[in-house]
Amino acid sequence: QQQVRQSPQSLTVWEGETAILNCSYEDSTFNYFPWYQQFPGEGPALLISIRSVSDKKEDGRFTIFFNKREKKLSLHITDSQPGDSATYFCAASEGTGGLSGKLTFGEGTQVTVIS
């Protein structure tokens, strides 16, 4: 059973548009949700994260919207740039400490920004 689901699998937007990436999860004990950005040939890099006590987190052009009741969250990339073309992974974990709790990943959304 896939604990973290992402949609769409791939997404193409024009430069300047807003890309919207969706994520949903099953386990209600998940309380920490990082998004990772991965370019070909590289490891995933932390982009932005949110805890379940918040419903929105913004960092520059990247914003997470979180709906705890529906167990859904989304990543919005505003003013998309060609350099944003990458695969984006939604992940989730439980626990508050750094000594335990595994990170469960979604299957990723491949974003292509066309100029």
């Binding site: 920490y32 990082p34 990772y36 991965q38 040939g41 590289e42 490891g43 995933p44 890099a45 932390l46 994260s49 695969t87 992974f89 974990s93 626990g95 508050t96 400490g97 750094g98 000594l99 335990s100 709790g101 595994k102 990170l103 469960t104 990943f105 299957e107 990723g108």
Partner: protein, 115 residues
């Protein structure tokens, strides 16, 4: 910022042989390290979670006999893939976590090819 170095970046081994990969945390203390394998389809599988001075916890389908891990101090971890076969191919990622944080910082990975 937190940096995680993995080496080698790429390796090719003959079927049935073993290879060791290393993970170095720079600029922070990696209290726990998570080893993942990313498939060619980009899905993540957690292999094991290693915490300094605690037993290493392996996920289902992964064993210490196949993927022995060493985590001797707060800046270094290594994992060996023993008796590698085609199904072991993939990108092996080391994610290091700071004390009291949920965030995993990943290295660029070691890409394993098996002939």
């Amino acid at each position: 910022g937190a940096l995680v170095y993995q080496y080698p970046r790429r390796t090719i081994c003959k079927s049935g042989t073993s290879m060791r990969m290393e993970c170095q945390a720079v600029g922070f203390q990696a209290t726990s390290v998570a080893w993942y394998r990313q498939s060619p389809q980009k899905t993540f599988e957690l292999i094991a979670l290693s915490t300094v001075n605690s037993a290493i916890k392996y996920e289902q389908n992964f064993t210490q006999e196949k993927f022995p891990i060493s985590h001797p101090n707060l800046s270094f971890s290594s994992m060996t893939v023993l008796n590698a076969y085609l199904e072991d191919r993939g990108l092996y990622l080391c994610g290091a976590r700071m004390t009291s944080q949920n965030t995993l910082y990943f290295g660029a990975g070691t890409r394993l090819s098996v002939l």
